[in-house]
Each structure stands twice: as structure tokens, then as C-alpha cells.
């Protein structure tokens, strides 16, 4: 195989070559570095790269391990010892992590090589990566459009063959939605399935780390490495971890798929709707039973989500006070001025907006009306899912109501941007798992193809099942084999 062809491989294909000693970890890194140099000027997915360190890891790599010698990109919100961890925020621009997050430690234990940190919305707050305090990342399918967010750098890197796989984080859709908009596979594990030790916290009752990959099998392989209990995270579940790759080949006979009627709402792009309807028919042809279900509180999920997520973010972001790490304002008049100007100078606009919203809904006199009520509605949303999963094995919906939107189109209207998460954030409120995988393309007026994502939601700790269902779909379609036209006519911003 030519070195230039290596970056297009899936993790599963790459590990076979590594295992058979047909390529070395060093050769893989060299090929990946060349690919990144080639596409990065157009997409700008990475915030930092450390190939010197990666080559040292490659010298010691044990290719017999499950991910031995496989380079994995890491969202810049997840700590990698010795590397920057900026969360795409000015307030952390000179910060370096002192230790590995548990997910990174586990990836290394499985043989993987962290080599670079990916761009994101600042502190994962956003749905387009436009809130990055550092730079814009562009969608490899059309560089005039967003890659989705907040894990947009991870999604764009995988889509452009500038990463074999990547870690992202998903608080309200931040793995699944960019996966959908960039045409890759993104899995949000159930709450408590994957350790959060070493992740910078956004909304602690919602956050989960998850893989972005080219295929469903690769998602299972990464889950095998990162899932499971962690003595350093008291919210991480002790339940045994199955082999997620082992059951992928099972067929869909007897599988019941629920179609939530509330998810086929007005405002879904007609091409997205058509692609998802076609996918549903395809599932039926594979032997799955399609059942209409209702999630009656769906229309309240976004309001509940934004109140809870903003409240928790305002509390978590209070740690950025310019004392022990991060930016500090010069010559403060007093401590109040030290805090207020440090945070003014360090945080971007959307982060400030959420801090204000979160502080307001937690403040005396408003707590009951907003935060407490949102948590009660969260209970109702959780009950909706519990009832649905009594009748079906998984739920099926679009991941995003629209394909990738143009850069700048929604950034001036926060409410419009919040609605981008309409199908994804209920899963975080309910703590269940979800996966997005490619299910077609929408054509733009100027003839570009934009990926469409299909979402499968499973009950808590049922990752193996949604991976199996996703795999059956993927292997009987060819959407995942298409590649963005980065080498041809996509090199000029529109």
C-alpha cells in the first residue's frame, strides 16, 4: 500500500496492517502528518500537534495491543499530559495539562498514540465550532460551511482523513451533531459509562466523552478501550463492559425500532426528512420491525436542557478565576476587579452569555421558576424514554434537522443556534446512549453534497445494541465509503 493511501483507512483496517507488520507505527504517523499538512490549511481542525512526542510513542508502540500504534486525535477539552488543554479559550491559552484524563490513559493502555488536540466551541458551548476563541474550523464537504459542534475539529479531522479516529465530548449533541454534519460516525455513551476524570467540565449532569470515527466498527473498538469504571470518577458506573465489537455482525431480525412521531416536525429540511424515511424503509427491509412511538415531552427538552446546562456551566466556569492557572488581568484594583476583568478578558461572547443565563436561573428568587422546574421536566423526559424503551430496542430519528449550515448564518442568533440540538439533547437529559451515522447526502444549490446523519438512541448501557443496529445499516449501504472532495474544487472559500 502506498503511504499516501494510509490516512483513508479505518482503524480496523489500519490495525490489521500494523498487526501483520505491513506498516510500522512510524510510517503511519508520517503518512498522517503529510495528510494533515495537505488538508489543514483548508479545514483548520487542530489547535495543537506534537508529532515529536508521537514519534517517540511510536518507537515504543506494541502493535499487538487492540489499538497498538493507532494515532487518535483528542478534543482540546480532554487532558493529555504535557500538552495544551485550552478548550479553545483565551483564558487557558497557555495552560498545559499535568496528567492524562482517564480516557487518554485507557487509550494509551490499548496502544493508541495521542498526537494532537482538536478545535471546538469554547468550553464545548456551541453547535458549530464558531465559538472557538482561536479559529474557525471548516466542513471538509464544503469549506464555506460549519463542521457542526462543539466537537467540530474532531469531526472535520476524521472526515478529511486527517485523523483515524478522535475523541469528542457530548453534553447536548456535541459528538453526534458534528458527526452528522461532517459525515462520520459519532457515539455518545450513556451517562456514567465512560470516565470524565481529566475532562474540563461544562455541565456535569450531562457531559460524556465519546468517539468520532469513519465506521461503526471503529466506534466499537474505541469504546472497548475507553468504557468502564474509574476509581477517580465517582459518577462512573461499575457495570461490566461488553466487547462492543463482538456482537456487530448479528442481523436485525426481531429488532424493534421506534419512530418518535414528535421528531418528524416542521422545520426539518426536506432532503434530511427524505433520507431518514428511506433509512427507515431500509431497516424494515433488513428485518427490523418499525413501531410508531410517542415522546410527548419532546417540545420541552430544549428549554429544560438550556436552563440546566447553563446553570451547571456557570458553576463549573467559576473555577476560572486567574489564581492557580490561566489568564490573569494585569494590575487589579482589588480582588473583585481581579476576578471580573480576568473573566471579561478570558471568556468569549457565548460563554459570557451562558454564564449570565446560568447565574440568573440559579439566583435567589428565580431558582424555583427556572432551574427547579427544568429539572422536573427532565424527569418527565426521562419517563418518556423509559416508556418507549419498554416497547422498542432503539429509537430512530434525524441527528440534526438540517445539514451543515453556512459559516456565520446562525452565530448572531443564540436561540436559532440552540435549536440545532433539538433531536440530540433529550438523550443527555435522560442519560441514554446515542449514535449518529451517515444516511445520505443533501445537495446544495451550487451542487455540493452535504452529509445527512441518522440518529439511533438506545436505553442506558445499551451501546452494544445501537452499535449492532448501526453496523447492519452501514454495511448494507455505501454512504460511509464516500469521501469529501477536498482534493478537487473545494479549496476556495465560497
Amino acid at each position: 500500500m502506498r503511504a499516501a493511501d494510509l490516512p483513508a483507512l479505518s482503524i480496523a483496517e489500519l490495525r490489521t496492517l500494523l498487526h501483520q507488520r505491513e506498516v510500522s507505527p512510524r510510517e503511519v504517523l508520517e503518512a498522517l502528518r503529510s495528510r494533515i499538512a495537505e488538508v489543514e490549511p483548508a479545514i483548520e481542525a487542530y489547535l495543537s500537534l506534537d508529532f515529536d512526542d508521537a514519534f517517540k510513542q511510536a518507537e515504543r508502540a506494541d502493535v499487538n495491543l487492540p489499538l497498538g500504534g493507532v494515532p487518535i486525535a483528542i478534543k482540546d477539552m480532554i487532558s493529555v499530559a504535557g500538552q495544551p488543554c485550552t478548550c479553545a479559550s483565551k483564558i487557558l491559552q497557555n495552560y498545559r495539562a499535568l496528567y492524562d484524563a482517564t480516557v487518554v490513559r485507557k487509550l494509551r493502555a490499548a496502544g493508541a498514540i495521542p498526537f494532537g488536540k482538536t478545535n471546538m466551541d469554547e468550553f464545548a458551548i456551541g453547535a458549530s465550532t464558531e465559538n472557538s476563541g482561536v479559529k474557525l474550523t471548516r466542513n471538509p464537504w464544503d469549506i464555506s460551511r460549519v463542521p457542526g459542534g462543539s466537537s467540530g475539529g474532531s469531526a472535520a479531522a476524521v472526515a478529511a482523513d486527517a485523523a483515524f479516529g478522535a475523541l469528542g465530548t457530548d453534553t447536548g449533541g456535541s459528538v453526534r451533531q458534528p458527526a452528522a454534519l461532517s459525515g462520520v460516525v459519532g457515539l455518545k455513551p450513556s451517562y456514567g459509562r465512560v470516565s470524565r476524570f481529566g475532562l474540563v467540565a461544562f455541565a456535569s449532569s450531562l457531559d460524556q466523552a465519546g468517539p468520532l470515527t469513519k465506521t461503526v466498527r471503529d466506534s466499537a473498538l474505541m469504546m472497548n478501550a475507553i468504557a468502564g469504571p474509574d476509581a477517580q470518577d465517582s459518577t462512573c458506573l461499575n457495570d461490566a463492559v461488553p466487547d462492543y465489537a463482538a456482537g456487530l455482525e448479528r442481523d436485525l431480525r426481531g429488532i424493534r425500532l421506534g419512530l418518535p412521531k414528535e421528531y418528524m416536525i416542521e422545520g426539518i429540511d426536506s432532503q434530511v426528512r427524505a433520507a431518514v424515511e428511506k433509512a427507515v424503509a431500509h431497516f424494515a427491509s433488513l428485518g427490523a420491525e418499525i413501531i410508531d412511538v410517542s415522546l410527548p415531552h419532546t417540545e420541552y427538552a430544549i428549554a429544560s436542557y438550556y436552563l440546566i446546562a447553563s446553570a451547571e456551566a456557570s458553576a463549573n466556569l467559576a473555577r476560572f478565576d486567574g489564581v492557580r492557572y490561566g489568564h490573569r488581568a494585569e494590575n487589579p484594583l482589588n480582588l473583585f476587579d481581579h476576578y471580573s476583568r480576568t473573566r471579561e478578558e478570558g471568556f468569549g461572547s457565548e460563554v459570557k452569555r451562558r454564564i449570565i443565563l446560568g447565574t440568573y436561573v440559579l439566583s435567589s428568587g428565580y431558582y424555583e421558576a427556572y432551574y427547579a422546574r427544568a429539572q422536573k421536566v427532565r424527569t418527565l423526559i426521562r419517563q418518556d424514554f423509559a416508556e418507549a424503551f419498554g416497547r422498542v430496542d432503539a429509537l430512530i430519528s434525524p441527528t440534526s434537522p438540517v445539514p451543515a449550515f453556512p459559516l456565520g448564518e446562525r452565530s448572531s442568533d443564540p436561540l436559532q443556534m440552540y435549536l440545532a440540538d433539538v433531536f440530540t439533547n433529550a438523550a443527555n437529559l435522560a442519560g441514554i446512549c446515542g449514535i449518529s451515522l451517515p444516511c445520505g447526502f443533501a445537495q446544495t444549490e451550487n451542487g455540493r453534497d452535504l452529509p445527512i446523519g441518522l440518529q439511533l438512541l438506545g436505553k442506558a448501557l445499551d451501546e452494544a445494541r445501537i452499535l449492532q443496529i448501526a453496523h447492519a445499516y452501514e454495511q448494507s449501504t455505501d454512504w460511509h465509503t464516500r469521501r469529501p472532495p477536498l482534493d478537487k474544487d473545494n479549496d476556495q472559500p465560497a
Partner: protein, 96 residues
């Protein structure tokens, strides 16, 4: 139709220890007013008999063995400090 929500952004910004420019204050006032107006939607539901869910999964403190472990050295702990001296974080004066 929900009442327009008036949020005193300047007051909340002081609570949050976050300076805002006058322009940001005005902008957030309008934008967050709309977001809170949207959130009024939650009032349509009768939640008087519903328990609040603080977490997605009802799990409570999972404990590990209380065994001593290595921590950061002083140098490591101070390596990201904006200001330090004599092995300590230098903080802004808090007493007169």
C-alpha cells in the same frame, strides 16, 4: 403568550464576577430575554407532583479505597500559575 422577561444583566454580571461592556449588557438583555421567554414554555406543564431529576441516572457516591497516592510536586502544581513566588501562588491582596 408569555410575559416579556426582564433580566437585570448588570446585577447578574456582578454576581458572576464578570465585567461586561455596556454594549454586551444591552445585547445580552435582549437575547436572554428571548431565551427566557422561550423557557416560559415549561410553565405549560403541571410539575407539582413531579420529582426533580438532578442527575440523568440515579447513582450516588461510588467510593474507592482510601489509600494514599502520589500527587503533584510543588513545581508541578505551580507550573500553570499566572504569578508565583517562594513556592506559593501570588494572589491579589484581600486584606487592607
Amino acid at each position: 403568550m408569555a410575559e416579556p422577561v426582564q433580566i437585570d444583566v448588570a446585577h447578574v454580571a456582578r454576581l458572576a464576577r464578570l465585567n461586561l461592556t455596556e454594549e454586551e449588557t444591552r445585547l445580552f438583555q435582549a437575547q436572554l430575554g428571548r431565551v427566557l421567554e422561550y423557557a416560559e414554555k415549561l410553565r405549560e406543564l403541571d410539575t407539582s407532583q413531579v420529582e426533580a431529576a438532578a442527575h440523568a441516572v440515579p447513582i450516588f457516591n461510588i467510593f474507592r479505597e482510601d489509600e494514599p497516592q502520589a500527587g503533584f510536586t510543588v513545581e508541578e502544581a505551580l507550573s500553570n500559575a499566572p504569578r508565583q513566588a517562594n513556592g506559593l501562588f501570588v494572589v491579589t491582596k484581600v486584606v487592607k
